[in-house]
Symmetry: C3
Subunit: 651 residues, 3 copies
């Protein structure tokens, strides 16, 4: 059954407190605790001297109360003696210098010492808890990122990576176009990480594409190396790692292909934006996590109180947020929601990243709401096997994201933002959608939305063609087909390989940035910004056109019949209003039902299996809403999530 | 008598000019010159070769004209030959690298070479001028800061500092909670300064508390080491150092406990803010300086012209500012006001930090105003023994400041700002107040205002309890009692150790940052921001409550009887208006008289001794004001300061 | 004849494409290609192994089609093998560390290895193409800057530079005023580049003046060293380098004094500013380039499409810009306009710095406009010998610019901006002006405008005195005569050496920054900002006075008869409106004709020789304008440039 848990740090508190905490958890309805991700120095205080007794005791206290344990490999923070004795363990900065130790996450994934000592501690942990039924899952490291380590080991590995990919320096030189700034490699020694303090977009983009790819591979390999050790000892171990979005986001699709469950750290903002055009992207990220393996996922860290630390403290979660945002996660496919953290830390740099219980150890309003969440979830008895199925998918690619971060296309243009705008439009129509990788099978969907397919992968292009020819609907946008798979520009009219599908080509483009440009669609005006494709229409039908600038009257949104299907081309980036209207029309054409009069920021999702169906209606607003649609009539408090559960009759 | 002086640099000018300058000073009424704080390389041009003749001559020229000399130890800028020959002399950056020489203030306080050569030059200076009656005081170095030097010597000293404080690594590990990010020390070699480029709030706050404490100790020790040398030779020397506020402000309370006089560099802004809610903080700083030793102080550098250098030039001081801001300093307890500087430098990076006389050497409007200042002060004959006595004190702590800088509590929250708001409120009521350290005796006061006593020191807490119990009034605020003395969070309801005094506890807090939240006090609305405590009232009386958000109707300002006294708790940060109204009521309750209809930004202060009393009325506005109170009726020009001097009749 | 060209990179494309491209260029009317500035690693792939065949072929393909070639020395990007084998080749940063290789332009001008290998490759190139008539000119390096390299070689050269200039450390110490912060040199080893991360204005300004001068000398010497090699082999070679404005702009006046032609990279912004007070500075820069050698110049890189790369992409050039901005360059004295670049790069970090033809290789709107430009220019047959002659000159000095960048005088104050305001005022009156160096002969002019002659050079001052005495009109401004030639403040009333000419002195100044201050000139109000001189009038006539602040009613703009001439003093920085009105009056007094009713942002220029005259009327607006003056009646489309060509009858 779907359940609620908490992150717990026995090593932070006296042992007497463990029992009090475990008792209160049991009473509250907590089903899982995650432990030990920063505890290496407690488990191996000196090289090759181990102490597991405290952890044994902690695990047994929880297991005695029927609370499962997720154990972590503690590799995020190797002990200081390791860094001191084995300097290769340290990440190196873009200046080629070893990182100063003192914060966290400084280990190099490719360091032989890190590999050697990690293997030993993981092996010991796995061996010790292999047969302990309380330990139900394993988390690898903590919030892995595709760190850009520039140490000698990584440098050497990077050269090997390129040797394997290209075979020769000549091939690298020609692929990168190194001649452009006269920087052709003539020896392997010249191949280096991007040292120096230059902004990323000063480097060769094809080279950076490989470098970032290598760093992502290094993170993946480090995770897999750990999973392999655990599986060698516990063949049926359930293995995850808590992923997150950051400046060096991992290749989640790749990484989790060899892990069992996706888990995600979910911290929706506690500050409601004033701007009604602002996007609520929590649901987007949840759908994205469900898409990584196309199955349900876990939240490993869930908002529990005021965030603070890296930034000053933020507003406290509003009434409804603690429960509501957890319910929302379940509504979008979370099977476990583990709150970070049971109680705020009294020490350390994270002390103001608040837990469910404040430093005072007096449970407050937020804890009461959490207790209510536990009761609700435990009463609902939602099977983990209930799945979410949608007719619509949005393609999300970490390769595209990295390439677009490297070379921002115009002021204000962000890859994720365009994805979120489509996601928001679909949500506003009461529909659900999957967020899938390029490599997912498209055949289960009626509509594939593919924004900014900037890098062109042959396989994606072929399958999108086939999908459309077979009757599917595809929505393509500006900046599709711009680059080849090496991050070099294609030498054909845009959208490149997709031009036959779109029935139109881009004659020129206007990177308008923050400027506003008006367009007209069905006699209604919309202000677009950031990008305006100036389009040569060959065979498409015009849906919207510009109403100003020197390209006034030319089309910006078109649709084109291709095979049995339909391909839209959206040459602009619009506002929320545009996407709602555009998508209503597109879904209508694709025969997908939607709701016309849903209040803003209300999400309707459905989890079902052969036996049961749960419909979730979530109000992501800080005000009451009344829903009055054909099937749903409800009054929702701020952040309230109503669940309609139906047990299916067996035919 | 209170007197006026100037900073003078004989080493910048030809000797003929010294005489002209000294003649003009005498004519103008200047009583003191400060000299030689950057002159080491002139005094010891080669290692162990000294040249004091030029300084002898300069001193004698001034002394012949009845002008006293304050001599400086020149340790701020050691000669280049010293840095070249003895590299340990250089401060090291957070990267662990020696600082490049070429600006100023690069010496390491803990460097053996700096100590050795400083001792020799100071000894020579002191010996030479010990018997010269013209040299009336000594300034140590220049604008000392608690520099965070990361050199090997400082690293070693820091380890010793921790060894003395904690005795063992185990004790450090448990105090810091090093386990939180798995960073427990297992050898002393692992203990280092905060190397790396991380923001300060990424480091462990208890560790940083010690590190900053160590750096402050190093600065103090450097100052005391110098003072000891001077005193060995001149037992009754008057010793000061010109202190200032910066990113690494020294522990003034500690430092000056072993020096004779506080002196301060006073540069009020020349740009009048447009915002009427902006605070004028000059008087706050002056009161703070008087509070450091609880006695009168000196201004060692006083605004004399347009500032510029580190920033582009600023507006020229408005008419009245040159005289008025000096008078204001005297009004708040300055016994000497030394203007920086006699004439603007024609060379060097500070050339646009303007002096009283411009580069042209033609005295202008500002010099005329300065001359008028000298006349006024000389005519007034204010005894140095006149003191300022107040019934109200605000507690100011450099420990609290450092801890709050390290972990800003919310957007826009600044420790000093809250202190200034209280100071401004008291000033607006025509009252004066002292700004005292936590360690000052409270018994002389009727009201103690203690904003943000964030770190909890047992002694402070006990004495505040006793003060209230004995009938005193204490005002506590949000973020009191949050931490223990090691900068770790306390595990009890806030305001922690003060909860009995306040009669209420903080159930939760909302770090609202720049958002505005309305409260109501006596049917009047005020907009507060940055912080809202959500309060559980136990025994207190409600003074104000929130009128919006989910805690609408709950109290935010309360008062509680405690023993014979009264304790206020202010759970918000208000605007100027709030403090004026709140404090009027609080002073009324405490039986302190105040003025109701004083114009904005007018300050009334009183210096007196057994024989005389001076009442100062200062208009800190760029417009005329009319004062019409019971005792004072006056018309003041912009920045005018009127002084009412009374000779007391001996009974 | 004036002609159009393109920048072309044969090394980026397959050889088949060279022919197609050359054919299309010929058809379009392109007359010149520039080649090979980044091709060193292709020309010398291994040390001392050369390959010129590909370049031979490329040159011959173009020359066969009647297209001239400008060949570049490829020293901007030495091959990686050179950096690898000869580490002294690398520039060193302000931290004293070698620059990471991977972007471009990292070579040290003073590196013995760079000198040695540059000489060899240049010699080879020059020898190979000496007798090839297709190669009509040589470009040295690419966008040289006065890089502040802090390597050991540069350090040593800097010491020699100072030894030659000053002879002794004593002289340096006294010139710099090193005593100010106790930093007198006592050995040459102590003399270093400005190492460390301090802002530039923390260093001694006289020292920085020498350091920047040294860096400019190094760039000049590197250019001349190259020119000498070429000239040794091709005595009558036409040699240029494509200059630009950047943070370390070269001393163009010095550098081009030993080169044959000035060429400039011209990228007017494609985003029209919303603010009508914004300045269009393209024409200013063009006039500045013509002034460098006081003769016609070339554009070596001209705007061809959307810029992007270092920043996100910008709006596409508006219709008319591609042609119009090239015509504007010709109108201001360009004899060649070489567009950057023929086709956008498909690879490398500059791929989004768009060329005339997009990546698709399908010529678009912008190419059509370029083709029209070629036709127009080829039809016009404007002789290269046609020159621009003006009665008005503005003095522009790279020394002043560097000194003012080092110590910005007030918030918002920029040296160039004040120059541009005068230039804009003159343009708005339908007049032309030259932008000349201080060292140019003034006698050809009626009016010399000399804004911010901040550093005082004896020669300039003497010649300006003589010019005025002989009947000329000079306009001086605030911040004239502030410093001596070493960047130290003069010790006399400002404007220092010019005080006799102005008939007034500056009693004080108010650096008002972004504040607005109202002045009145002939009963009309103007808002000034940044700077207000408070003036003591001796013999001048008041033209405008302040109408607020404490100096209300005092003069801010004056004129003074001096000898047979007139000297204006403008003590403020005004808005566009002020300069138009002030200059109309000043030109009237000087007997220079101007146009009163010219629409905003229209430029009228005239190129002529003994046989022909071309009048250019350019509309630098994105809207149509009607011109209706005595001599010109025209309707101009956005960015249209109309040319009236007259063949002079021989008398």
């Amino acid at each position: 059954m779907v359940s609620i848990g908490v992150d717990y740090y026995p090593e932070h508190w006296d042992r007497e407190m463990w029992i009090k905490d475990a008792d209160l958890m049991k009473e509250t309805g907590v089903k899982t605790v995650r432990m030990a991700e920063f505890a290496w120095c407690k488990l191996e205080p000196e090289e090759n001297k181990f102490d597991f007794e405290w952890l044994d005791e902690a695990v047994s206290i929880f297991s005695e109360r029927g609370i499962d344990v997720i154990l972590c490999t503690p590799t995020n923070c190797p002990p200081l003696w390791l860094y001191e004795k084995y300097p290769d363990a340290k990440q190196h900065s873009r200046k080629g210098e070893p990182t100063a130790i003192g914060v966290r996450g400084h280990r190099c994934y490719n360091s032989p010492s890190i590999r050697k000592f990690s293997e030993r501690i993981i092996r010991r942990l796995a061996e010790r808890y292999a047969d302990n039924p309380a330990v139900t899952a394993w988390q690898i490291d903590n919030e892995l990122d595709a760190a850009q380590c520039c140490c000698p080991n990584c440098t050497e590995k990077f050269r090997l990576f390129l040797k394997e990919k290209y075979g020769s320096l000549e091939k690298i030189n020609s692929t990168y176009g190194n001649i452009v700034w006269g920087g052709e490699y003539s020896s392997w020694e010249q191949v280096k990480p991007p040292l120096g303090d230059y902004p990323e977009n000063w480097y060769n983009p094809a080279y950076m594409n490989d470098w970032i790819g290598f760093c992502k591979d290094s993170a993946n390999n480090f995770a897999w190396f750990q999973a392999d050790i655990i599986r060698e000892i516990i063949p049926n171990a359930v293995i995850t790692t808590n992923t997150w979005l950051c400046g060096n986001t991992c290749d989640m699709h790749g990484m989790f292909s060899k892990l069992d469950v996706v888990s995600y750290d979910n911290y929706p903002t506690t500050r409601i934006p004033d701007d009604e055009n602002a996007l609520y992207s929590h649901a987007f990220h949840l759908d994205m996590m469900r898409g990584v393996k196309k199955k349900n996922f876990w939240i490993m860290e869930q908002l529990s109180g005021t965030p603070g630390c890296w930034m000053p403290m933020q507003p406290t979660p509003l009434p409804g947020m603690i429960k509501g945002y957890s319910m929302q996660a379940v509504a979008h496919g979370a099977d476990k929601v583990i709150h970070f953290r049971w109680r705020s830390a009294a020490k350390g740099a994270e002390m103001f990243w608040h837990g469910l219980i404040d430093h005072s150890n007096v449970p407050s309003r937020r804890f009461e709401e959490f207790a209510e969440l536990c009761r609700t979830i435990n009463e609902l008895e939602i099977p983990e096997s209930t799945e979410i199925k949608n007719d619509i998918a949005i393609i999300m690619s970490f390769d595209q994201e990295a390439a677009l971060n490297l070379q921002p296309q115009s002021d204000g243009f962000h890859y994720y933002n365009q994805l979120k705008l489509y996601h928001d439009g679909i949500t506003s129509l009461g529909c659900g959608c999957d967020i899938i990788s390029e490599h997912t099978d498209y055949s289960a969907y009626k509509v594939i939305i593919a924004p900014t397919l900037y890098l062109t992968f042959k396989d994606t292009a072929e399958r999108l063609h086939a999908f459309t020819e077979n009757g599917g609907t595809v929505i393509l946008t500006n900046r599709c087909g711009v680059k080849d798979e090496n991050n070099n520009c294609v030498m054909e009219p845009l959208p490149g390989v997709y031009s036959d599908m779109t029935g139109c080509t881009v004659a020129e483009y206007d990177a308008v940035g923050y400027d506003k440009v008006n367009i007209v669609m069905k006699h209604k005006n919309y202000a677009v910004s950031q990008w305006c494709d100036i389009i040569k229409n060959n065979s498409a039908q015009v849906i919207a056109e510009y109403s100003e600038r020197f390209y006034k009257g030319t089309p910006c949104v078109l649709s084109n019949k291709f095979g049995k299907g339909l391909c839209y081309y959206v040459g602009i980036i619009g506002n929320r209003d545009f996407y709602r209207d555009f998508l209503a029309n597109a879904l209508d054409n694709a025969g997908i039902e939607f709701i016309k009069n849903l209040p803003d920021n209300v999400e309707i999702t459905r989890r079902s299996n052969s036996e049961a169906e749960c419909i979730f209606v979530f109000n992501n607003n800080n005000y009451h809403v009344s829903i009055d649609t054909e099937n749903i009539k409800a009054e929702l408090a701020p952040f309230e999530c109503v669940v309609y559960k139906t047990i299916k009759l067996i035919d």
